[in-house]
Structure formats: structure tokens, C-alpha cells
């Protein structure tokens, strides 16, 4: 067992009585069971099939302190640049896994945009109904998170309501006294015919390495619509394991967009459980990383009911000595006839030292379905590059233009123009180009 796992197990004894909801027996039970499973399993190694290409060993050995408290010393000026400045939003800001009320802008008016900590105390029935019911037991990072689940975003949109502006969620790590390990837990519930848009971001604003183990459970009831955008542009010493699990009912429509530009190691476990008919599941993303960075997208769409649609489009651009992993699993259960599932993963390697492992994984048990998948790994088309250069566009700009064009269609489903603009800007920056136009 790793030192970190040992530390976590011993800190649980101290932490557990102080966690929110510690008088709720159901929650206490859930935490203890989860901890037992974590203790039995520990952290995954490359011998685990699901972690074959991503070696956690180096990032787990950083000597993390386990952060159980927030930090009051953060001012709005410190975080301003991580928020969408030109847009009115609800804001939930967490520091080292704990809510910062004075940096946030929450509401309880018509819908709950507040904290998981508050919900643990205030809404025991809702917690009992939802907590742990999307994220699967037995996944070691989920279990670890469940054991310590204390704070994070709690969003509940009641039936037929539309949240009037996007919700921004910012998770900060600030620790200056050595490497930091923190955990956050989200619970997002869109009831029947409700609608909500979320933009979230993890950011290490300190000088020390960080490891964040994050779980987000999303429930979309009948006819609900959820847009969930993940901007992953963290510092170069930050590691994130993002476990996002989405349960969908009839006619619901959920889009999760993951835009990854930063971080030392980012692992996204994104699972969709399509549990109602005519549900639509969209997941897409752009990854642009360089030297010393690893990004691993592990996705699952589990089609359990008939007549559903899923669309998955991931684009990767790899510079320097970087490593990209894509593992896209599509499961179509026997009952899920007339499933229409699309999956595509396209990658461009802009350096000889960059590496990509991509693996589509389809398990189909129904006989009347349409499932397509494809993956490509390539370099920029020389012919096209010459074409652009022959028209006077310098090599660097021509490469940027082509790379930009390659990635841009994964932004098609971004419904917040300010976010799209910002993503475009980050992409141009990452590619080191200064184009006079937006595509």
C-alpha cells in the first residue's frame, strides 16, 4: 500500500466525526463502506486494465498533505482571471475542497445553487435518494472520494425550471506548505424538464504540487437539459482525477464538454448511463498539451434503454513530449434496441516525442443498433501545408491555422458565446499563433 493511501486511511479516523452529515447514519454508513473498499483496493497501478497507459506512481509519491480545511487568504483579485469576466453567472468557489462563501454568489431562491455540505445537513432525503447512485461503487477513486465526501457544489433545479444564468464552479488549491491532496464532491440534479448550464474549472494557485480527486454526480430526469463544460487548464504541477457520472432518464439531453490544456496529469473518467428512452448524450473535447503532460480520457456510454442517441467527439493535439490516452467504451445492452451511437477520436502529433494511445471499445448485445466509431492519429497534411504557404501564410501560422481548424468542430456544441470565445483564445495561445480572426 502506498504511503498516501496509509495517510488517507489514518486521517479518516480524525476527519470523519468532523465531516458534514456525520449524524446522518445513511451517510456515515456510505462513507465507511467506501473506505473499506478503498482500503482493500488501494490506488490503481498500470497492471489494472483501466490504468494500463497511465502510471500514477510518480504523482502519488509527492508526499501530499491531506487538506481538510479551506483557506481564507484568497481574494477575488486572485481568482478573477479564472472566471468568465464578461458574463453574469452564479459562482461557487471552493478552496482546498471547502466552500468560500464570500467569493461565491449562490442562491436558494427558485433553485439550489449552493454547497454539498449544506445539502448534507439540510436535505437528508435528497442525499439518501441520490448520493452514490450515479458513481459506481468499487471504483477506487470514487470510493476514496465518497469516504471523505464533505463539500462541493450542490445544484438542484426543480421541475420545469431553467436556471437563468450559467453557474461557474471554481475549485482552488492554495497550499504553500508542501504538496496538497484534496477532494471535492458535486451533486447536480436536474428534475423533470429543468435546464442548467455549468462551467467548471480546477486551479492550483499555489507553488506546490497538488492532487485533486473529484467526483461529480449528475442526474437528468425526464426532458431535463444539462450543459456541463469543463475547462482544464491547470498549473503544470497539478494532477486531477475527474470522475463524472451522469444518469439520464427519458428524453433528457446532457452535454459534457472537456477542454484540456493544462495540468501535469489529468484523468477524466466520464460515464453516461442512459436509463430512459430517447435520451441524448453528448460528450466532446479538445486536448492540447505539451512537454511533460499526460491526459487520459476514459469514457463510457452505457445504453440501457431503447431509442437513445450518443455522440462522442474528442480531438487531441500533442506537442513536445506529451502523452494522450483515449479509451472510449460504448455498451449497448440487450434491451437497448435502436441505439444510435457515434464515436470519433482524432489526434494530431506535432512532435516526434509525443505519444497517443487510443482505444475504442464497443460491447453490443442488441441486434438492431447503429454504432460507428473511428480513431485517427496523424500529422498535418504536408500537401495542405504547402498549399497555405504558397499563398503567403508562413509555416508557423499555416500549421496553427490547420491545427485550429482540426480542433474547432469539437467546440460546435458550446452554447455560451463568452466561453467559446475564451476557449478559442486559449487554443490560439496554446498553439502559439496570433490569428486575426476567430474561426
Amino acid at each position: 500500500m502506498t504511503d498516501l493511501a496509509q495517510d488517507l486511511l489514518s486521517s479518516f479516523v480524525v476527519a470523519e466525526p468532523q465531516l458534514n452529515g456525520s449524524r446522518n447514519l445513511g451517510v456515515v454508513h456510505l462513507r465507511k463502506e467506501a473506505l473499506d473498499r478503498f482500503e482493500a483496493q488501494g490506488f490503481p497501478t498500470t497492471r489494472d486494465e483501466e490504468w494500463k497507459y497511465t502510471n500514477l506512481k510518480p504523482v502519488l509519491k509527492q508526499g501530499y498533505r491531506i487538506l481538510l480545511k479551506g483557506d481564507d487568504a484568497v481574494s477575488f483579485a486572485d481568482i478573477k482571471s479564472y472566471l468568465l469576466s464578461d458574463l453574469d453567472t452564479y459562482k461557487l468557489v471552493f478552496i482546498n475542497g471547502k466552500y468560500s462563501s464570500w467569493l461565491s454568489d449562490s442562491t436558494h431562491q427558485e433553485f439550489d445553487v449552493c454547497t454539498f455540505a449544506a445539502a448534507l445537513n439540510k436535505y437528508p432525503d435528497i442525499i439518501a435518494e441520490y448520493l452514490g447512485n450515479a458513481a459506481p461503487k468499487g471504483e477506487t477513486f470514487v470510493d476514496l472520494n465518497t469516504a471523505f465526501a464533505d463539500d462541493g457544489a450542490f445544484i438542484r433545479v426543480k421541475a420545469n425550471q431553467t436556471v437563468d444564468k450559467p453557474i461557474e464552479i471554481l475549485y482552488l488549491t492554495t497550499n504553500e506548505n508542501g504538496p496538497a491532496f484534496s477532494q471535492v464532491r458535486n451533486l447536480i440534479i436536474a428534475e423533470q424538464n429543468a435546464e442548467v448550464q455549468l462551467v467548471e474549472r480546477h486551479q492550483n494557485i499555489g507553488e506546490q504540487p497538488s492532487f485533486t480527486n473529484f467526483v461529480s454526480e449528475v442526474f437528468a430526469a425526464r426532458d431535463a437539459r444539462v450543459s456541463y463544460y469543463k475547462v482544464q487548464n491547470d498549473a503544470e504541477h497539478a494532477t486531477l482525477v475527474d470522475n463524472t457520472h451522469v444518469v439520464q432518464k427519458d428524453q433528457s439531453n446532457v452535454h459534457v464538454g472537456t477542454y484540456t490544456f493544462g495540468g501535469k496529469l489529468v484523468r477524466n473518467n466520464l460515464h453516461f448511463y442512459s436509463c430512459g428512452e430517447h435520451a441524448e448524450s453528448h460528450m466532446d473535447g479538445i486536448t492540447i498539451i505539451g512537454d511533460g503532460q499526460t491526459v487520459d480520457h476514459h469514457t463510457l456510454v452505457d445504453h440501457q434503454e431503447p431509442n437513445c442517441y450518443s455522440r462522442e467527439l474528442y480531438k487531441g493535439i500533442y506537442l513536445g513530449k506529451s502523452h494522450g490516452i483515449f479509451n472510449g467504451k460504448v455498451m449497448v445492452r440487450q434491451k437497448a434496441q435502436k441505439t444510435n451511437a457515434f464515436q470519433q477520436n482524432d489526434n494530431i502529433l506535432l512532435s516526434d516525442r509525443a505519444k497517443v494511445d487510443t482505444k475504442p471499445q464497443l460491447e453490443i448485445f442488441a441486434d438492431d443498433v447503429r454504432c460507428s466509431h473511428g480513431c485517427t492519429i496523424g500529422q498535418l497534411d504536408r500537401n495542405a501545408l504547402f498549399y497555405l504557404r504558397s499563398r503567403g501564410i508562413p509555416k508557423h501560422e499555416a500549421e496553427g491555422l490547420m491545427t485550429y481548424a482540426f480542433a474547432a468542430d469539437a467546440l460546435e456544441y458550446v452554447k455560451i458565446p463568452q466561453l467559446e470565445k475564451r476557449l478559442n483564445r486559449v487554443i490560439a495561445e496554446k498553439l502559439g499563433i496570433n490569428l486575426e480572426f476567430t474561426l
Binding site: 497534411d381 497555405l388 504557404r389 503567403g392 501560422e397 486575426e436
Partner: protein, 249 residues
């Protein structure tokens, strides 16, 4: 304007150009004809600077400068334009954004200020009209889903926008129906001036009925084996290339 002297070029150790000599002056139109595989497209690619071709001997002088030292984009900035036989599709980049970038990068390369947005737009409209292109072209992705004729027309549109000194039209007539051919040729003729020159690379006489060349050269087996006036094109049309091959066997 351009002086090509004893130019030899190879690709992957196979010599394709075996000593080309050619001089083109401002205001002239030259046609380069020849059977398939004679080296016509290689010659145009080498002039434009495609790096798959290795120049092993000879020189290209363009207005007093050694062209072979320059990158493709630098050649474009100096006023060389190559119309591609197979224009490349670039999804996600609109025609207007592309042309804007190309023009302003060329201006930057020459140390000039970028073109005013209003001037750019007016010029685009004027040149699109010249080539009988609908305005909607400008907002489409570059060459994506364009028919063969639309792609070629779009090449000439770019040429019209970039106003090169030397335009090389590589098989611009292939894949064009008679109406598109007329429009493309009309466009080229309207863009002619005493300051610029055009090289038409073609297999057939057809395009030369619309754009009258001053000189016709026959390229065979990596060399210019015959040069003459427009009548040479007619002779080739009538007799084919076999007699050229026989003469140079």
C-alpha cells in the same frame, strides 16, 4: 522577370527535371505543354518551393533574386502564385478568412500595413463578381465540398485577390466544363497587365483558345524540347505528342 537556368530537380533520387532553361518577361503569357509525366507539375512545384523536390543543379532568378533560397511563403510575398491542380480542402477555415490572412501575411512579409477591412471586403466583392462567384462562397469552408469547377474558380479568385507578378496555372483547365472554362479564362485575361506574367501548364489546347499565349513550350522527359508561338499548340493538338517523342527518342 524570371530566368530559369539549367534547372535539375529530383524526388527520392529520381531525376525529373533534367536541365530546364526558360525566360519570362513582364506582360508575357507562356504555355508549357507536354505528355503526362514529362515534368510539368514538378517544374511548377519547384518554382513555388515545394520541399519534396530537391534541386540538384541550376538556378532560378526572380527579379534579380535567387528564388531557390526562399521558403514558399517568401516566394508568395515576392509575387509568385501557383494555382493548384488539386486544391486542398481545409475544413473550418472560410474562404474570406483565408484570403484575408493570406493577403495580410503577404503584406507583412513585404513590410506593408494590413489592408483596411472595408477595402478588403470591397475587393473581395469585386473579384468574386469578376469570376461570377456568388457571395456565399466567401463564407464557405475553403474548398470543402466544392465541385471541381468551383475549386478552380476559387484558385483564380485567390490569384485575383493576391495580384501576383507571376502566376502559374497548373492544369487549371482539367475538370472544367465549357462554361467554367470560359469564366476562368475570362478572369485570367482581365487580370493581365504589362507588369505581370502568366504560365499556363496544360495538356490540351483547349484553354489556349481562351487565353492566347505568346510562347508555347513543349516539355518532354524533363527538358524543354521545343519552343514556338501559338501555332505550336495547334500543331500538338492535331498531331499529338508522338512526333515529339519520336524526335527525342
Amino acid at each position: 522577370m524570371i530566368k530559369i537556368n539549367n534547372l535539375k530537380a529530383q524526388v527520392e533520387d529520381k531525376e525529373i527535371l533534367k536541365g530546364i532553361n526558360l525566360e519570362i518577361n513582364p506582360g508575357e503569357i507562356h504555355a508549357i505543354m507536354g505528355p503526362n509525366g514529362s515534368g510539368k507539375s514538378t517544374l511548377s512545384s519547384v518554382i513555388a518551393g515545394r520541399d519534396e523536390y530537391e534541386v540538384t543543379d541550376g538556378s532560378i532568378d526572380f527579379n534579380g533574386e535567387d528564388l531557390l533560397d526562399l521558403d514558399p511563403e517568401e516566394r508568395a510575398h515576392k509575387g509568385i502564385f501557383l494555382s493548384f491542380q488539386y486544391p486542398v480542402e481545409i475544413p473550418g477555415v472560410t474562404v474570406s478568412n483565408f484570403i484575408k490572412t493570406a493577403i495580410n501575411e503577404s503584406r507583412k512579409g513585404r513590410g506593408e500595413e494590413p489592408m483596411e477591412a472595408r477595402e478588403m471586403l470591397a475587393k473581395m466583392r469585386e473579384k468574386a463578381a469578376l469570376l461570377e462567384m456568388d457571395k456565399s462562397y466567401l463564407s464557405r469552408s475553403l474548398n470543402e465540398g466544392f465541385s471541381g469547377g468551383e475549386k478552380k474558380r476559387n484558385e483564380i479568385f485567390q490569384m485575383a485577390m493576391l495580384e501576383p507578378k507571376l502566376a502559374i496555372l497548373d492544369e487549371t483547365d482539367s475538370g472544367l466544363d465549357i462554361d467554367a472554362l470560359r469564366i476562368v479564362a475570362g478572369g485570367v485575361n482581365k487580370l493581365r497587365s504589362a507588369e505581370n506574367a502568366v504560365v499556363i501548364i496544360t495538356h490540351y489546347q483547349r484553354l489556349l483558345d481562351y487565353i492566347k499565349p505568346d510562347f508555347v513550350h513543349v516539355l518532354y522527359n524533363g527538358k524543354i524540347v521545343k519552343s514556338g508561338g501559338p501555332e505550336l499548340a495547334h500543331e500538338l493538338e492535331e498531331k499529338g505528342y508522338d512526333w515529339i517523342k519520336a524526335e527525342n527518342a
